[in-house]
Amino acid sequence: MSVVRGGIEDVRQVARGWRWGRRPQVPRSAEPFVPPSESTVFGTDWARRRSGRVAREVAQKAGLEPVFRSQVRTRVEGLDVLERVEGPVVFVANHASHLDTPLVLLSLPDEWRRRTAVAAAADYFFDTWWRAVGSALLFNTFPIERRSGSMSDTPGDVLADGWSLLIFPEGTRSSDGWVGRFRMGAAYLACEHRVPVVPVAHRGTFAAMPRGQGWPSPGRRQLTIRFGEPLVPGPDETPRSLAPRIRDAVAGLLDEDASTWWEARRRAASGTTPDPAGPEVAPWRRVWEQTASPAPDPGRSQITAWRR
């Protein structure tokens, strides 16, 4: 009996220690010694073929969207910019949560949503076949290397095929909800392929589902998303000069979302747009500020009868 009991205890200890069913973790002090992951390329072309598109349409409309809308409230602004631009484009957004991708995709008009692919970290979303298949099917993701520093061919190929891209240039979700450093990848692609960049800013996803949380917080938190004027790279523009313009545009949109278009414009004109990286205060204060959801839509009546 003790042998059986010992076996059960062993299995429990291993299941707990190695986080069965969850993503394995590396001790913090061992992180510098993790070998670079071998780039296992899971092809995602199938996800952009007709059968893949049909399957995704069903998955998004019948599965993802109802669940998403049941968990969060959204307010979408600025979609009119898409009427003034022809695809493909590169959507560039700040990144604070796993909610960002569905928020952006489900905010897009259907014809844009169906033609948008999402750049996803190769080492995170493509490390196992089931994660790769799941994310490619549901979100039309393709792998992008965020560690090597070199750009793979895949994003350019997808763009060349006429697909718009959604890129989070921070490369990872923010740890405190504020905007991090923008990498050059999106600007590089826009310059290389001469496509417009549509800046996108959203707020509230960190408050609703920050890093480490697997499901949105209860209470249908408010999310807001705002699409900005497309940035068209000039004929001689380099990624190095375009990248700060993209970041400024996102910063302006965040400011606009938190105040008004007019106030944001005036601050932009005077060069006093708040830094999206947030104030240099104690870490807890930075997190504290971001844990507050944006104010709910004022024009919308709140149904409170069934709420606590």
Binding site: G6, D10, P27, R28, A30
Partner: protein, 527 residues
């Protein structure tokens, strides 16, 4: 590309870690903040072993090429490390076989007739013919063993020992007569850890008790900081003095080999991996191994472990003058095993595995477990001990394997009679060492059977003298309480209990360092 060793700090993301304990292992959940020293991964091995050996023999360091030292009519003796190296025993072909075969090929081409091969066993047990065959290979064994030209060194054969003189410190140098009177003595070593090799090879491997007693004693051992650094070890200083005297009498051509860290063969190779990198297969194998060992009878468990053959690879080979060769060898060993550790800690944790140098095919009795833990693993440092003076050591081993009657007869008496009276190395050394060393029955067993010399258990105890002098508390986790008590230590059921017991010495929130060993590591401690 092999990754360097490093010091892990246990946090909430750290899975349970493997701790060896005799013929088994456990998964231990260490307190957060515990430092765990991981050895470097295996270095790249030499691409062509045969060519590397040939190159070393033809282009030696500070010596003429081996073929130039060989001539017809000469007396050639080839000595080699015994089965205490490497650990575990190497998967065939053993590296010594491959080296000796090339040396003999050159000797045959030079027309050398008088060749003898000696296993440098010193006071270790005689190797069996099968063990000799494993080390030197079938060709060499068949060519020399039936003629009596391949044999174990006998440190009690007075007729075949020669006293070469005394060092400037008055140390007797008495070694094998055949080796000392040869025109050339070729020594083939396996430099598994930094304390092996150099002048220790001939000066200790082919020496008698009369010579060994000068450095294998508590006073020398306590002052050796540590055995893994021959420049700071009094034991090695003595061996070096003796080696330089030997060099005046016989030409020694030293061949030193270094190995990588491939200690465990598949499917036990998960024991060499960093736990958080275990695959599903590794986790499954580990669970299977744990359950299998839990239900396996003791004999089967013993067989499972002792039949393991390590898939070691050759990382380097150097030949020529002893000291020049050894400097290069040590550099390679350091590359393979050295890990920088910042500062000492209050508690040092070590898991004592199933195998040490003196229980190959045998049992790890409580004295050998002490030697392994407090002798070798404790001394796996350079600079300063991993644990501070007055700290505590926590060891894992059941101490329940008993004594091998054939291999360790004098250990039984040492355990039952000597340790019952005192565990102080100096006291027991002064009172009993000579009696055990000269006991005719032990000498008879050493010479004719496969017993370690009568004085050997004393040496094991002396190896631990530095640790016993340095720390205030030694606690064995999962150990037989009576055995631990006889050794002068305490036993605890769990790590938490051991830390609780050690709190009198090191307080209730001590800093802890765990040496994740094996595979072999050497902590380079910056105190």
């Amino acid at each position: 590309m092999s990754r360097p060793g490093f010091v892990l700090e246990v946090d909430d993301r750290t899975p349970p870690l493997v701790v060896h304990e005799g013929q088994g292992f456990r998964l231990e959940e260490f307190p957060h903040g515990t430092r765990v020293v991981y050895p470097p991964e295996s270095l790249p091995t030499v691409p062509d072993v045969e060519q590397a050996i040939r190159d070393a023999l033809l282009s030696p360091v500070d010596s003429e090429p081996l073929p130039e030292l060989l001539f017809p009519g000469m007396r050639l003796t080839i000595a080699f490390d015994d089965l205490s190296l490497p650990l575990p025993t190497m998967r065939p072909p053993d590296i010594r076989q491959r080296v000796i075969e090339q040396v003999l090929t050159m000797a045959a081409e030079a027309g050398v007739d008088d060749v003898e091969l000696v296993a440098a066993t010193a006071l270790h047990r005689r190797m069996t013919p099968a063990e000799l065959k494993h080390v030197v290979g079938e060709r060499v064994f068949r060519s020399f063993h039936p003629q009596g030209a391949l044999y174990n060194f006998d440190a009690e054969d007075r007729d075949n020992l020669v006293h070469l003189g005394t060092t400037e410190k008055g140390e007797d140098v008495e070694i094998s007569k055949r080796a000392a009177e040869s025109d050339l003595l070729v020594y083939v070593n396996v430099n598994l850890v930094a304390m092996d090799g150099g002048h220790k090879s001939v000066g200790i491997g082919l020496a008698s008790y009369n010579s060994l007693r000068h450095h294998h004693n508590p006073q020398t051992m306590v002052r050796s900081h540590s055995f893994m650094d021959h420049r700071a070890s009094h034991l090695h200083h003595s061996a070096w003095r003796m080696g330089r005297l030997i060099r005046e009498h016989v030409k020694v051509f030293q061949i030193e080999t270094t190995l990588d860290n491939e200690v465990f063969p598949a499917p036990y190779d998960f024991l060499m991996k960093r736990e958080w990198e275990w695959s599903w297969r590794d986790q499954g194998t580990m669970l299977g191994a744990r359950r299998g060992l839990a239900v396996a009878p003791r004999r089967l468990r013993h067989k499972l472990f002792h039949d393991m053959r390590a898939p070691y690879g050759l990382t380097g080979i150097n030949a020529g003058e002893v000291e020049a060769v050894h400097d290069r060898t040590i550099a390679t060993v350091h590359r393979q095993q050295l890990v920088e550790v910042e500062g000492q800690s209050d508690v040092l944790v070590m898991g004592v595995p199933y195998l040490g140098p003196y229980n190959v095919g045998s049992t790890m009795n409580p004295i050998l477990a002490t030697c392994m833990g407090l002798g070798y693993y404790f001394n796996s440092y350079r600079g300063a001990p991993v644990v501070r003076r007055g700290g505590a050591v926590i060891l894992y081993h059941p101490l329940d394997e008993g004594f091998h009657q054939l291999h360790h007869p004098s250990y039984v008496d040492f355990y039952e009679e000597v340790l019952a009276e005192s565990t102080d190395p100096t006291v027991i050394g002064e009172k009993y060492e000579r009696q055990f060393a000269t006991d005719p029955w032990y000498i008879h067993l050493y010479r004719t059977s496969h017993a370690y010399h009568g004085v050997h258990p004393f040496y094991m105890w002396y190896w631990a003298a530095h640790a016993m002098d340095h720390v205030d508390d030694v606690i064995w986790v999962g150990a037989n309480r009576r055995a631990a008590s006889r050794l002068g230590f305490r036993a605890a059921s769990t790590l938490a209990d051991a830390l609780e017991m050690a709190s009198d010495t090191v307080g209730s929130s001590p800093s802890i360092t765990y040496l994740h060993n094996p595979p072999h590591l050497l902590a380079d401690v910056r105190a």
